[in-house]
Amino acid sequence: MIYSYLIISLVCIFIILLLNNKKLTHAVVYLFGFFQIYFCYELYTHPERCQNEYFSVDSIGVLFTIILAVLSLVAAVHYQKYETLHKEDIRSVKIHNAVYIGFNAALVGVYLSGHYGLLWAFIEATTLTGATLIYHDRKKIVLEAVWKYVFACSVSITLAFTGILLLSVAAQEIKLSELSFELLAQNAQIMNPVWLKAAFIFILVGFSVKMGVSPMFNVDIDAKDVSPFPIGALFSSVLLNAGFLAIYRFYSIFKDTEMGVWMNHVLVIASVLTLLFASAHLLKAKNYKRLFAYSSMEHSGLVLIAITLGKLGILAAFLHLTFHAVVKSGLFFQIGQVIRLNQGKKEAITGYFYQNPLGGFILLFGSLAIMALPPSGLFISELLIFKSLLLQQNGLIIVLIFSLLSIIFYALLTSVFKLLFYPSTTEKVIVKPKTYWLENLLQLFLLGLSVYFGLFQSQFLIDLIQASL
């Protein structure tokens, strides 16, 4: 089944490259999106059909693929409206849509791969396709961000490959012939921890560029800043999940061995540093896209510390990732509208609520949700994380994290309120808001998803996550 998925994506790419009509290319992307939803359904009901020697379906992969399927369709809708308004030419739209399908296919490959080398190769593919997706406008500042993203990602992914090589040295000692996850999980206890520790450090640093956490977060922030807002939304949600999965696969195999405590220490250090840098930058950010990009960074830091906290923490981490993906992309889509309504400027926007009440409501509700206030699902996951943290009774970490989160809370909310409610000091130009009902509906739908799953503890979600614990 997975092979047919990959083949169909290749076919769709070819078709798009051969077409000449913008609307038809968008139609192909929508068709592919619906096919992806069907594929998720197939994965959920018949997982054994998709297993083969290279790909393995487990519930985390299925969860992330469902998120990807939903979000990519919504992002495709937003992209169509974006390029209509910006009057892009046919060639850039074609390339963008073709690479978009490739990006989706690479991400599904990451989620469903059962072999560490294959995971790495698919993440490399997401770098290549993601860089092409970011380079949509043809300005100098976009080129600068794209160059930095490609270069830093390449160097980091090469470092991650070094980590995989060290892992294979450890595997060769016990005569394993390949790095598939089942074989590694069976033999985890007898591998030499020295190699594994070195491999973990390299893998954490290498894949931190995809996840947007401490050692290499800058290029991710820049990429989300200059890309078109649907792509920024996808980077904040599904690509972050892919980076997390790459680190989590390694961590989950070895967390019960003698290395587990050491890995926890390393992850705590990484996440505290992430939160520290995120809070520092958030106090200074004036550009609204960067604001939400740093907020993604903060949430990745929280997820990293959540997985060190035992079974409850891992459940909380996956819930957090799910809700964060949904809410953050909704916010990014809305910010796109904000920027569009302010003639493409990204900063010093005020009084948005008065210009566009529905959009303002979405933005307000979304930011409150991303700051984990009650009706949203993020409240539940953060509550679980804090509960596990307090049970661990590590005083210094608790104090640090809570103080950093308060700073982040303050910074984010002041900026958002300034955006929404400050009366504008310039002359009020009544701009007829050009919003599309479909966009607003979709964003409300996304926020509603997070609220629904948060309020009514969905058995479906809990089952899915618990199956992997």
Binding site: K140, V155, I157, V194
Partner: protein
């Protein structure tokens, strides 16, 4: 014989530390490509013949000839000769880099010995890690984008050496390392570097500083 090639590879990293011209960097890169070709030929005896030819052709043709040729053309087009804009005191930069190289090599050798692993070929391992660490240092210290790309290829050469160390049991990994080279170099060098030099007319990374908070 392989020892000799790896020795010359380590010496080429020493010469990287003291280079002043872009031309010497590019020549050293070509030398490293040819060395990797010779190492691959003599080291990978258990490989299937087609895989061996693929790896050999990639190292010799791609890394030894095509990439240096391309970089030389770009450097000539931008009239870049001297590597400028160091962050350290310019005159002592080579001195400290050489000391660092030898120190890193010594430490990785000691590490390799204390680990005492039968599957670990210490000479490949320590030279590979030295190449990776020194490549990262070259990226940090220099401000030319051409030098950044060259140092990235040095890092890739180090990774390839380490993959050769365990290559006889897991041929998939060596293939992946080679494909990493091909794809990323083609995309990074070929597409984006061209666009960058076309728009900015210069390859100093000082020009790339307009993205701020």
């Amino acid at each position: 014989m392989i020892t000799f090639y790896i020795l010359i590879f380590a010496i080429s990293i020493l010469y990287f530390s003291i280079s002043v011209n872009i031309r010497s960097y590019i020549n050293l890169l070509g030398v490293q490509g040819i060395l990797l070709f010779l190492i691959a030929l003599s080291g990978l005896k258990d490989f299937h013949i087609f895989q061996l030819i693929f790896v050999a052709v990639e190292t010799l043709v791609f890394k030894g000839i095509i990439v240096p040729r391309f970089l030389l053309n770009v450097a000539k087009k931008n009239r870049v000769t001297n590597i400028k804009n160091f962050k350290l005191r310019r005159k002592m930069k080579g001195f400290y880099l050489i000391l660092t190289t030898v120190l890193v090599y010594l430490i990785t050798l000691l590490l390799g010995y204390t680990l005492k692993n039968d599957f670990l070929n210490v000479k490949y391992f320590s030279t590979g890690i030295t190449a990776i660490i020194m490549g990262l240092l070259f990226i940090i210290i220099n401000k030319n984008i051409t030098v950044h790309i060259i140092s990235f290829i040095v890092i890739e050469n180090g990774v390839f050496l380490m993959a050769l160390a365990i290559g006889n049991e897991m041929p998939m990994l060596v293939n992946t390392a080679v494909l990493l080279d091909l794809f990323v170099s083609v995309l990074v060098l070929g597409v984006f570097f061209n666009k960058l030099t076309y728009q900015f007319h210069d390859d100093s990374s000082d020009k790339l500083s307009s993205l701020k908070d």
